[in-house]
Symmetry: C2
């Protein structure tokens, strides 16, 4: 496993490499969800590459950029068995003085996470575009947990004709159903105990739809009443949307993305399922 901190270092290394590259961009503080992506990248390509970069431009001014959890040594130990190249740039390597270019996907970034976190996806698409250009992978791997992010990155890559394939991999969950996330570390033990309610409510929605329910308002009401029983939980949104356009729907017509953001104290958790 080679650890590289500069863009020039990656480009130099790539010049002498042969074979396909599978790439997993991360913000570090890795969990089993990331490792599943890396394993798949390694299985499907000759070389696996991972980046660790807490991207400042995708955090809002009141968000948790400074406190976002970081532990590079732990990350490297977790990556070691599956990873050939790790890219860990400094902020100034990615955004030198005078940096001024932005990549933006419109419309599907206005809803859900984009509505609550203005500018977030502009930061995401910009940094991912840069990382794609630096690493030049054949395939790049993202988790379904960040469903909108995956859709936005797929759209960017397709619209800009980027020469790679974006692969979206299933959400990895704790045994009790909570989706793996670096931000789970923010939860107090009491919050952590209630957090599986997100997935439970998604499973409830799935069961209702399988039983023939078509009215989104009725399903959302059931989900809401489940979640508000957790007294520490505050619902930010529960969305039923077309899985590609992310436009809200009122009657179930697969494929449907059911997604949600729920706050426990200051910690926002997101989760989703796709009904096919």
């Amino acid at each position: 496993m080679q650890v590289i901190n500069t863009i020039a270092g990656i480009k130099e290394l790539k010049r002498n490499l042969k074979g396909t590259v599978g790439f997993v961009p991360t913000m570090g503080y890795l969990h089993a969800g990331h490792i599943a992506l890396v394993k798949q990248a390694k299985a499907e390509n000759d070389i696996s590459a991972v980046s660790i970069f807490v991207n400042p431009t995708q955090f809002g001014p009141k968000e948790d950029f400074k406190t976002y959890p970081r532990d590079i040594n732990r990350d490297l130990a977790m990556l070691e068995p599956y990873t050939d190249i790790v890219f860990i740039p400094a902020d100034k390597e990615m955004y030198p003085a005078g940096y001024n270019t932005w990549v933006e996907v419109n419309e599907i970034t206005d809803v859900l996470e984009g509505a609550v976190r203005p500018g977030h996806f502009k930061g995401v698409t910009t940094v991912v575009n840069k990382l794609f250009n630096i690493v030049q992978p054949d395939k790049a791997y993202f988790g379904q947990k960040d469903a909108q992010q995956a859709a936005v990155i797929k759209k960017m890559a397709r619209d800009l004709n980027m020469p790679l394939e974006v692969v979206v991999c299933p959400t990895i969950r704790e045994p009790d159903g909570l989706a793996m996330s670096s931000r789970n570390t923010y939860l107090t033990p009491e919050m952590r105990k209630g957090a599986p309610v997100l997935y439970q409510s998604l499973q409830k929605a799935k069961a209702m739809i399988e039983a023939g329910e078509k009215t989104v308002a009725d399903i959302r009401r059931e989900m809401t009443s489940m979640i508000i029983k957790e007294t520490l939980a505050t619902i930010e949104y529960i969305s039923f949307a077309d899985n590609e356009t992310l436009k809200e729907i009122h009657t179930i017509k697969p494929p449907v993305l059911i997604s949600m953001a729920v706050k426990f104290g200051k910690t926002r958790l997101i989760d989703n399922i796709v009904i096919k």
Copy 2:
């Protein structure tokens, strides 16, 4: 020379190609300025590629997109001796239904041409980013005549870490000094006769600076009085700027970009020189 109309066609062709690629993006209606770029692309690379695409997204709603001169057969005949690959996509190939991703360079796009043509450079950077991703050249060639465009594209490629080199080539001029431009065809014979005043005024500025003049206001006054003697000419701007940041200066301190836009009737001509 292979003529290809689809993105898939270019990607397929590239898979089987070996060697370096030099790329010249154009809007067609070629002149000796374009051909000089293609010759240089061919001289410096194994393969020369040219695109012909009148990009709708870089024209304002009141600009000349519909009337922009087009003559593909003439273009192909001019390219044939120097060109290996010509890419001529339809509008819908580049911007299919639902297209929604934009690449934007801020700040240096707010001045000069960008100030007069809002949204112009957003269209330019987006289409050039796409073309770079489609053709994946080693080097891309642009003319110094569009000095701000060249600076903006260099900035985009550098900021986004695009894996190629942007090469800027000297302006090619008619014998009387008029910079070659596809839009010169709009000029009436009378306007055409007066059009060399742009270059003459730039040469005057250069001579004044070489003689020790440092005050921009004095040089601009001389240039203005030369140009307004052409009764068909209307000055849009005469700019003295830092050649990299494009910030206006008031005292000559090389490298200086002296650039101008002058209208003859509805036809805007631009020209520039760099004082090193």
